[in-house]
Symmetry: C2
Subunit: 311 residues, 2 copies
Amino acid sequence: MEKSTSVRLLLGYFLFVHASAISAQTLADRLGYPPGTKLIIVHADDLGETHAVNAAAIKSLEAGSINSASMMVPCPWFPEIADYAKSHPDADFGLHLTLTSERVYYRWGPVAAADTVPSLLDQNRYFHHDWEQNPHINPKEVEIELRAQIERALAMGVHPTHLDSHQYRLIVNGKEIFDAMVRVAHAYKLPVFVTRDWFAEHPYLEKSLGSDDIVLDHTVTIGPEVPPEKWAEFYISALKNLQPGVTEFVIHPGFDDEELRAATRERSTWGAAWRQRDFDFFTSDQFRQILAQENVKLITWRELVKMSTRK
Amino acid sequence: MEKSTSVRLLLGYFLFVHASAISAQTLADRLGYPPGTKLIIVHADDLGETHAVNAAAIKSLEAGSINSASMMVPCPWFPEIADYAKSHPDADFGLHLTLTSERVYYRWGPVAAADTVPSLLDQNRYFHHDWEQNPHINPKEVEIELRAQIERALAMGVHPTHLDSHQYRLIVNGKEIFDAMVRVAHAYKLPVFVTRDWFAEHPYLEKSLGSDDIVLDHTVTIGPEVPPEKWAEFYISALKNLQPGVTEFVIHPGFDDEELRAATRERSTWGAAWRQRDFDFFTSDQFRQILAQENVKLITWRELVKMSTRK
């Protein structure tokens, strides 16, 4: 089983009881919610990557099972989800800034001109498969490509509510790369998905952000250490043990069909069956019941931005 | 129903009895076949475009129903079919040189750096949807992009047997653009798919080719004027009325599944059901029986090149 650096680093965050976070003032507190309020963003990643992911995300959004999502602009199915976003202007869509093409049989490259971002590309002009073997990522080129992705989205009628980073590449690869993301976010006046839980391991995150930046409190995401039969149990436990504040559930819904099976067939992690399990849990009655039972409220990036601007 | 210029121009070639061709010496004659020999290449187009097209092509190739195919290098599923081609070095794979991205919800762009081929791209850096509204295609940029596509294929272990043109763009858009294709073909010592039947309408085709270039005699391809229920009838009639010489059947097998339906949903022409009909006919017993009954022989580009080099 492949485990990238980012996955290894993030495994620590799967723990939903995070001692250092308990005492701090949460984003929810600062936004004026009563103490102890538990808010979650149920966020689907990787829209645009395949049709099976778009179709599952649209179905979950329309069922109200997820309330936020982000799109991969360089991917071939971006036009499909961009068209949907354009015709659903109230939906909470961000951009899932993408600088890797991590699959083997199905690949994509940059939005910027290839000769302006050489450090991001392999010899065939796709994005690198991963960054572990390619440490020489030029932060200036990161910025060029991020701006190109945002410009394409805007030109295609998408008005994103937030920015996040595919495979956490922009978060875990040092201050210079994170700063490029922050510069772009500030230029377009968009919040970046960062949680306070990450500051201990990556102190530059806190240093690079300004006092006006939105910082979430926690994140929950499932990892390869959870066996398929424990999927629902993991999420139920996370919801029952939720800490006060704003927690983003980073999930990966998709349909386990021919396309997604073929696109992800070289490994099972974040594969077609994995994504079908996420779709199944978050569209289940069980999920809705636990939200009600645990008094968990839903919130979107759009609402967070509105509230923090008003404050 | 959309009909592009190339489609309109090519509708004339659907006639399988072509008076002007009958008297000429056929390629088969020149290669030393007995007079009157009927040879066909059963050629699947658009490999690499979607997984459903790759899967159908691989199944047809392995069943022996088709014997040749060509791949779209800029498309996201190219790595899947390139990997197959690399591990099946005797299969007859060419490159389906691609300078348009004709779908709406699923799109791709150039292999060359975007800023080196601006005339080929729309404002979002995808290839133009079509060329009817974009007459200013720079032939120098065509050559840059064609070379980039061939170089990527070679770098990924594909050794193409021939070159052809997606949507016949490089054939029907004037001498300068066809010359760019021929220059690249000659540089890489690869034959180009051209038939003698096209010379009357596009005299520059004949003028631009040298005496060593392989020129097929005829082509058969189905068009939007054939209703779905007449699909088999069209192909059977074409096979029963086949002229002597080498005829390429340009077909578009694919599986009518979620992916292909979504990718082609804005129009039915060359859509998912269309491609399933092609797959169904060419993998049928009926097709094999007619080949035997009409004494039609199969030939590949690989064999043509070998025979014409030996001559």
